[in-house]
């Protein structure tokens, strides 16, 4: 039932999303949710905090489908975790990297290009794996 035939179209759509300017979008986020998260998904601040509460108190986290770095930047910033944000579009990873720098966590939060079905990490590399509405 998984619609693999739409995969390339979906990835291309994601690229467009990440390349576009976002100042008005950021203002929309701020007004609608009280915070500019750098997302266009459904994971609001309280949900990102619940995600942080669910992972071990320290250690390393892999954030799958990190997009613009949300909610990974919250986990790295508020939890102090070492974090790798993984996604496919390079355009997204550039934005995530900028988000990590702006959040002051660039020394422990990194980005990596890859997809969930072929992860470029050795077994046991992470204490936690998170994701939020990947591919929506």
């Amino acid at each position: 039932m998984v619609r693999i035939e739409h995969h390339k179209e979906l990835i291309d759509r994601q690229r467009v999303k990440y390349e576009r300017p976002i100042s008005a979008w950021t203002a929309l986020e701020q007004a609608a949710f009280g915070a500019a998260m750098g997302s266009n998904g459904f994971t609001i601040q309280a949900e990102a905090e619940a995600l942080l509460a669910a992972v071990p108190a320290s250690g390393s986290v892999l954030d799958l489908g990190t997009g613009r770095g949300w909610p990974g930047k919250l986990i790295a910033r508020d939890g102090g975790h070492r974090l790798v944000g993984l996604d496919m579009p390079v355009e997204a990873l550039r934005l995530a990297r900028s988000a990590f720098e702006a959040a002051g966590v660039a020394e422990r939060a990194f980005v990596c290009a890859g997809e969930g079905s072929a992860l470029p990490f050795a077994s046991g590399s992470f204490d936690a794996v998170t994701h939020a509405d990947v591919l929506c």
Binding site: M1, V2, R3, H6, H7, L10, V16, K17, R20, P21, I22, S23, A24, W25, A27, L28, E29, A31, A32, F33, N40, F42, T43, I44, E47, A50, L51, A54, V55, P56, L62, L64, L119, F121, A122, S123, G124, S125, F126, D127, A128, V129, T130, H131, A132, D133, V134, L135, C136
Partner: protein
Amino acid sequence: MLRQGGVLAGYVIHTPPGLSEADLETAGDLGPSFVAGMDDPAASAALSGFDVLHVQDVTARFRETGLAWVEGLGDREALLREELGDVEYEYELHRKGCIIEGIESGLLRRSFYVFNGR
């Protein structure tokens, strides 16, 4: 990549169990493209070697968030059309509206889960 005993946590948009083929098709049209492949995240995780620590239905908040997006898109239509262009603006509005339709027709759910790797 997860160590033994590590945590897998996240939010997943999925369908309720027991949908007909036609409803699954509709859910796939209304929701994220991969939604029709998932109707029970906890069962899928158990099959993959995880123990379920916590599962919470967050569909009501999912709907609220979707409605906030649509309202915000409407409130800032002129600015967003200027910034995104008409095609992207219409696409975003359409997709958010589809998701709300999917939630309200009982075809889409969203869950928060925490699993523990064995």
